[in-house]
Symmetry: C3
Subunit: 283 residues, 3 copies
């Protein structure tokens, strides 16, 4: 059921849905990578709105198909809470990126509060962020480099266990991004191999994946795990395509960022079908 073949078929189908339905995705997201998040949603075929002002963020939710809350915009966390609750009331999927969730007391307090007051469809973070949410304590150092914490073969069982534990606790599909991504809804756990180390040499690869996940959730609101896996697979395939260009042309991280968004723009269903590398995890 959740074997590789299942995901290989599902991801391109959901990509097509994003293009056909062009979901409007509201992101309350940090100022460091907000432009990239908007452009990656547009690249995928969605439409972004970055309405985040406390006086209108909640009202704006009524017109969108998905809501993305990125804790990097910690100054807007009150707006996130109101918008998240409103989205819950309206049945609109909410995606959380718990940027640096465990690093400061402010973020620990607010990530706890968001988890207790908002129901998330998907939570996507790096190892230290997912760990902070799952265990309720600090860890990690990078605030904006969401892809910075490597998940290696040795740490994979622990990463998968954390992912599943947080999914069970929250009811969300959880994605832990690393050299290998783990995704789980508490019952099924999937590993994704893809991407490249250069993704950790730009700011925003994690934020962009979260925004992209929002676009998938806006297009296919009933399947959080499917959307989370499809978006992560798409980003992984695009990361590999951008990395091939970087190696071929001798460019650096700035061109890589541009090529990554371009790859999302040009991503075909066939590329996604052939490029996604999924593995059911029984751990």
């Amino acid at each position: 059921m959740s074997g590789a073949e299942f995901w290989r078929d599902l991801a391109p189908e959901y990509l097509r849905a994003v293009r056909e339905r062009a979901p409007l995705v509201q992101c309350i997201t940090n100022f460091v990578t907000v432009n990239d998040c908007a452009n990656v949603i547009l690249a995928a075929g969605g439409s972004p709105t970055m309405a985040h002002d406390l006086r209108e963020a909640e009202e704006a939710v009524a017109g969108v198909q998905a809501l993305v809350l990125n804790l990097g915009a910690i100054e807007d966390v009150q707006a996130m809470l109101l918008a998240g609750k409103r989205a819950n009331a309206l049945g609109i999927p909410v995606v959380l990126d718990p940027v640096a969730a465990g690093v400061t007391s402010l973020r620990r307090e607010w990530s706890r509060r968001l988890l207790s007051e908002v129901r998330f469809s998907v939570i996507r973070g790096n190892a230290s962020e997912i760990k902070a949410l799952a265990q309720g304590r600090g860890g990690g150092s990078g605030v904006d480099v969401s892809a910075g914490d490597a998940v290696t073969a040795e740490t994979l069982p622990q990463a998968a266990a954390l992912t599943r534990a947080l999914a069970r606790r929250t009811g969300a599909a959880v994605v832990l991004s690393g050299a290998v991504d783990a995704a789980s809804d508490g019952r099924r756990t999937v590993l994704l191999r893809g991407g490249c180390p250069t993704m950790a040499r730009i700011t925003g690869s994690g934020c962009m994946l979260t925004a992209l996940t929002g676009a998938f959730c806006g297009a296919v609101p009933g399947d959080p795990l499917g959307c989370a896996v499809a978006a992560a697979a798409a980003m992984g395939v695009c990361g590999e395509r951008a990395e091939a260009l970087r190696l071929q042309n001798g460019t650096g991280n700035a061109t890589f960022r541009t090529d990554l968004i371009d790859a999302v723009f040009n991503l075909t269903e066939a590329q996604l079908r052939e490029g996604g590398r999924y593995e059911a995890y029984e751990g």
Copy 2:
């Protein structure tokens, strides 16, 4: 008088003025596209300042040649009001981008207030934004995708009428951006054909045009309609040049954004003269 030949001569002359006078343009503009707005002003030959803090935005106006107010920065709207009034008092042209003017009650309220308390030289928006200002009510969905609303052959008469109506009501030159742009000062109405659909697949093409319009107004303060038309023509020509590169190289929206700003940097008076497609509208 306002025939195609008139604009074909005027636009390159105003572009030369921007390069010669290097106007300092203050933008109170949204965090999503602020970097692109600064870089497009620099590309055109102007100099940007993004001073937006309520405690200094008004004071900063005294040193600039034009002021751009972008309603996407709704959190800075009080600073916009003060800076706008100060610019009026000093005779400095003010350009308004009514981003998502009709989408939330906060934006409806503030766009009404800005229109009643500040005199604008140019107002530039997409169809739903101009409609919201002209009719005083909501419409549209995209908050940050200013180029998202298509103006087609069928809707062109209505778009031109809205543009002229808002120009008459406000005294500003008004530009309604779409597949075809309409510009009017209430007496003369001009249509511009140019650009490309990829402009709606990046965030900020509308904001960049507004910023560019500010640079033209800073260089030629006495001719709002001329500046608005020249800037829109320049952006249209540059959009076509960037699109040609995208199709030739198989790149995507992120490279397109870079190529668009590069095209402004490299735009020659001859390119603008030959590329601008103007049509007087008698409707």
Copy 3:
């Protein structure tokens, strides 16, 4: 001791230190260029965090190796003060970019206050900014175009004198950026020739150099002048490499920006050794 040979050997060594130690650099920096600042730190081999919220900026300092305060983020200046004092208490180097320090009364007041309450390892600005700090009064016009004020052969003695004077007054290593950069710790003064005029045609070349200086200071905390000179030399060499590509490919300022960050990503110790042009200044 401070001859060209000395710096030629030191700069590549410090670049290697950045790559080996991968310092975490906290930047409280303006929203216009924050993405570029994060990406240039990543390009150099460091890791950025842009934590700037007043409620956590001070706490976040404890985990970083260097702190960068960019006055362009004038809305966060209270957070800068707290974070700067904390960094002083912890012995973490602090770098200041006094963006538009003399342009508004708010900035004059706060730059005075920051200078009196925080000890800086490095202060880096353009001519009018360094002048404003050194003389305690206004000057200049550009708020975000930090590289806008040219230092020519005629003004070089004055620029070097200002640089040395501010260094003596503050105890910081001071870098005045221009067509020629001057750097001084109050005893030694060094001139750097490098870069290109296109650096003044993008927003953020100054902010990026300041962020890069933070990465060097985080890797080699005991030598502010060495770090300031090495970072400025690196940016100059990269600016020349990006300019060569621009001229070769006929691109513009947007591609130049991307190529500049790529050049930092790909900068080798040999390139930096061969490209740096230093000159001891005895004036």
